[in-house]
Amino acid sequence: MRTVAQIFAAWCVVGVVAVADAADPVRIEVMPKVFKLDSPERDVHLIVTGYAANGDAVDLTRDAMFASSNHEVVAVENGVAVPRGNGKAVVVVTVGGQHAEASIEVAHFERREPVSFRYGTLVALTKQGCNQGACHGSPSGKGGFRLSLRAYDPVLDTETLVRETFNRRVNTVEPETSLLLRKPLMELAHGGGRRITKTSASYAILRDWIAQGCQPDFDDAPHCVRLELYPRQRVLHRPAKSQQVLVLAHFSDGSVRDVTDLAQFSSSDEAVATVDEHGLVTSETRGEAAILVRYLEIMDTAYLTFLEQIEGFRWPSPPENNFVDKHVLAKLHLLQIMPADLCTDEEFVRRVYLDVIGMLPTIGETASFLADTSPQKRTKLIDTLLERPEYAEYWAQKWADLLRLRDAKMSAAGVRKFHDWLVRAVATNMPYDRFARALLTADGHTYQNPPANYYRAAADTLDCTETTSQLFLGMRIQCAKCHNHPFERWTQDNYYGIGAFFNRVQRKKVNTDEMIVWVSRSGEVTQPRTGRQMQPWLPLAGDAKIAADADRRQALVDWLVRADNPFFARVEVNRLWGYVMGRGIVDPVDDFRDSNPPSSVELLDALAADFIAHGFDRKHTLRTVLNSRTYQLSSRTGPLNQDDQKYFSHARTRLIPAEPLLDAICEVTGLPEKYAGLPEGSRATQLPSPDMGCDFLKVFGQPARETACQCERSSDSNLSQALQMINGPLIHGKVRSEHNRFRQLMAEGKNDEEIVRQLYLAALCRQPSAAELRAALGHVTGSGDRVRGLEDVCWALLNANEFLFQH
């Protein structure tokens, strides 16, 4: 056996050139430091990290030299420690003049282990993409060959691979000639093209599995319990721009296997960083990327941040209004994104009115705010607005969307009662934990106890499962109804486990309009694929122990509202944030998953903690956000922040939602709409349901309330909207009306300039600039018809982006 010293000596001769390009680390680290290879089939990647004097890390895996102390035990090939015989060896890693050691033990080298069906064959097929949704994983398969989506159903897959169509796909006599190999190799024509090469780990696994007779796994075969990633979190500074990720799978028998070559990798943000099939992450630009690692249904995430010195960037050290700004600014500083300036008072007054009460300020309100000289005037205005009755109506409407208030679902009278309840809940600032409990544990007559309509809208166990998961857990779990979720950790078992909280809910119509909801004492959910009876199951907590005759919904809510619940508070503060900021910290706001990480974990955690500490007080959280400098930043961007879409460096311009937009048009023209069944002068934001609405609202994205998904409210622009605004009957009627604002002003004897100024203030909350005023007056005078000229000005203002957009 050679000594370490001898190995060093050998390097002095041969090994110097390779490290010439590596950074100059003050120390290096190798992972894993200790590893056991307990089968001749296993190996382990050695990940080498160099640390600079200032602590910055750099991935040196591909620059390092490796030498084994005993080549009869371990050899190192391309940075992978490969077993050669039983015993122990030390691998010495050298790079940049630094050394580190990994101890590798090899045991059971004589053991010939059959390929595991699950952890060999199915993992390989998944890795190569064979069973993805677009290929053989689609419900009808491809080319007569169907696999379960990402291997959620191993029993079905073994039948399909081995026995379907008379054992056609595999050949145990001459394994290499199996269709299962020749097709993806493109030795035989394959609609999916080439998916595998003969040198890949997947090819060897599939071939060996076939050669061994296509054996299924033993019933008690060890199963993977978790993944361990290295690094799990890392910040890399340019010029460092790549990082190898190591994936270790921990099995139920205590063994640990390196599955880096077999795991699947994906990046949460391909614009920031891409990841290849070997787990090598390469940065494209500065920013953060979550690298989702998947090994069958087990997943984990590595968080990588890539930083870059941006030329001309100087941190302006803006003041912080509260902890929101602390977290937002810290991230912007780290990523070298310039925060925008504070918005003007004109911008602020328009923005905050629209966000908080869904209305434009009146000319008088705008004027008095602009005239106020108090340094606290923004805070004062926020406080005032949060106490306005319109605040309750506007925010009740948002919940009415999610709770699907529709005549067809809960009858017109039922909708009114439920809507009244929601408005009252917001007006009285009902704590969110109580709000959730009222909905989720509701019993009785839907007239007497309107929250019971929750179970009227969610009319069966599956709907309850999906709605509750999405609204209160931010989990879009629908996929798991039929198969394990393809992009998330949630399995089909989990879906029906959540369902077990709801399947005892009973519903009965007492008359055509009213329903009674109650909970029976028994009834279980059966998982349709396995036929197993499911226990009530809580995400990340496991099966819930609940007394046999207890209302399981109570147990669910008890768990939801616990201070340590990882979903409940985060989902709600994120939703509130999303409403006023135009984008969630997690976005879409109801799609929390490992592969869709928050743009700032710290910010989300801080908001959630503050929310819980204040007794789930939604008004408090809104007030905190609205008072932050972050909320009050301008929407104007510069070269150092114009690319930012998710770190809140500037206000996000967005189309005003349908109802406030219609109300704003009514306000500017001075002509309210009429809604059937509502009193004269009612606003669109007061509508209990879209049944009373109009086409204009639908065109601008008012949801039909078919689902509990926030995504149902469309915020996209489209051609119909343009047609509505340019020459739709609603706009046309209001601009032409004898009673509209500018005609009233004319009747009052106001001159053109006074009228134009009023229109600007009403629509844009600001005075026209000199140029705008000149142009408007010029047009009125030049048109030869004063009324037509002012009509045009009014029309032009309503069609201006500055009017249509929140900014």
């Binding site: 026995r163 050949n171 269709l179 609609g191």
Partner: protein, 463 residues
């Protein structure tokens, strides 16, 4: 300059061709081919490499070459595929010889071997002549039959049994093996003979009524298929009736033994004259693989089973499709006629046997068979069905709702089933290589053996 280059290239190609011929066909190596034969040299290349995307259905780029006539027609590129004498102007040649992997054919695969590209070139230079007879015929029917690889001396692992057939006197059983048909003594399970020169898999076996022939349908999945006649006594190939680009799944003699009907992955139903081997009719009426075929007792109709989820009834004389039965809504694997030829029984992935009327295709009744039904036997009193639930289900004709009994013993999918009427025995074969012989009436198992010559099971079963 141009002419010299041309000459040099041509010489090179001929040299390659000589070498190729020497290696590929040692039996005929003495005489090197002077001219390229489309049928012998070009069609096999096209079938192997191009057919899947440019075949009879859903062609890519709107270009097909499943027949010679189609091959000559330009696809959506509207560029002539073959210009006689001018390979460089022929789009087909341009694409297979391109150095740009993005445009080169076959797509997303290794380029064709240089010698094959040279062959195509030479063929075009020599005038792109067609020597295959009917320009409308599928290229797959022109493929020369190859001599098949020998079976394993000893089986390392048993192979799935996908075909069994009783010899007429009932003493011998033919079993499909790997590149062979094995013949076994029905009383003792002893191996009698091994027939070689057989396709990799055998999906159907049938003895000639009143004759001495054995017909086998089989193939190498995704590569080739054939229907061949063998002499089971001598263990020799008599004649190959047809070859195809994927497996043949079914073959059956007419009751008088004078005709063979076959079916396969090419969606075809074919009829052949047994004595001459001449194909009498080709029917392409199914939309997907045809997995099973059966004659009626009068020899006037056949019933086919297909992955297109239908079973169909054809008139033998006219080739006319009489009935299309779509009641399974899943793959149909097998068909059989009732004793009076008035009902067709079909079995499928819907785990049922359906009985339907020959006259109008209306469903008469269905029987539940526990699992997918792969094979079906019907005699005048009883029905036997086997499949994925590892049992043979016995039903009584006329009282279909009641299952008489299930023959249990197999521990895996039963892919093959045969009946010997005189001795009233059934033979079944399963995925794990087992063959079992049963008393067809009471389900008593008479014999079990593993039809894998030389196979030695592991000494200690490892848990």
């Amino acid at each position: 300059m141009q002419a010299t280059g041309y000459g040099l290239r041509a010489t090179g190609a001929v040299a390659t061709l000589l070498t190729l011929a020497l290696f590929a066909a040692p039996a005929t190596a003495a005489e090197a081919p002077k001219t390229v034969s489309f049928k012998r040299d070009i069609a096999p290349i096209l079938v192997k490499n191009c057919f899947a995307c440019h075949g009879p259905t859903d062609p890519k780029g709107d270009y097909q070459l499943h027949t010679f006539a189609a091959l000559k027609k330009a696809g959506e590129s509207e560029t002539a595929s073959v210009v006689t004498g001018k390979p460089d102007d022929s789009y087909l040649y341009q694409l297979i010889s391109s150095s740009d992997s993005a445009e080169r054919m076959p797509k997303e695969a290794d380029p064709l071997p240089k010698d094959q590209v040279a062959l195509v070139k030479l063929w075009i230079e020599q005038g792109a002549k067609f020597d295959g007879g009917d320009a409308q015929a599928l290229l797959t029917t022109m493929l020369p039959r190859k001599i098949h690889a020998p079976p394993p001396e000893k089986y390392r692992l048993p192979v799935a049994i996908t075909a069994v057939a009783f010899a007429p006197e009932g003493k011998e059983l033919a079993v499909g093996g790997y590149h062979e048909i094995t013949l076994w003594n029905v009383e003792k399970g002893e191996l009698l003979r091994r027939i070689k020169n057989v396709e990799e898999r055998v999906y159907a076996l049938a003895y000639q009524p009143g004759g001495k022939l054995l017909v086998a349908a089989g193939g190498t999945p995704g590569v080739s298929g054939e229907v061949s006649l063998y002499d089971p006594e001598k263990g020799a190939l008599v004649r190959t009736l047809v070859t195809s680009a994927d497996c043949a799944f079914g073959a059956a003699f007419s009751p008088d033994g004078k005709q063979v009907a076959s079916c396969g992955a090419d969606r075809s139903v074919r009829f052949f004259d047994t004595a001459s081997g001449k194909q009498q009719r080709l029917i392409e009426d199914h939309a997907d693989w045809v997995l099973g075929i059966a004659w009626n007792h009068a020899g006037t109709q056949v019933a086919s089973a297909s992955r297109d989820k239908s079973a169909k009834l054809f008139d033998v004389k006219t080739g006319e499709a009489l009935v299309s039965y779509t009641g399974h809504s899943e793959t149909v694997y097998c068909t059989a006629f009732g004793a009076d030829d008035k009902l067709v029984y079909s079995g499928g992935a819907d785990k049922k046997v359906h009985a339907w009327n020959v006259s109008d295709g209306k469903q008469s009744t269905t029987m539940s068979a526990g699992g997918e039904v792969f094979r079906l036997i019907v005699d005048d009193k009883q029905i036997w069905a086997c499949g994925s639930d590892k049992a043979i289900h016995q039903f009584v004709v006329g009282d279909p709702k009641k299952e008489a009994r299930a023959f249990k013993g197999h521990t895996d999918y039963i892919y093959a089933l045969a009946f010997h009427a005189a001795s009233h025995r059934l033979a079944s074969g399963s995925y794990d290589g087992e063959v079992r012989i049963w008393n067809a009436d009471d389900g008593k198992q008479l014999l079990v053996f593993r039809a894998a010559p030389g196979y030695e099971p592991p000494q200690t079963a490892k848990k």
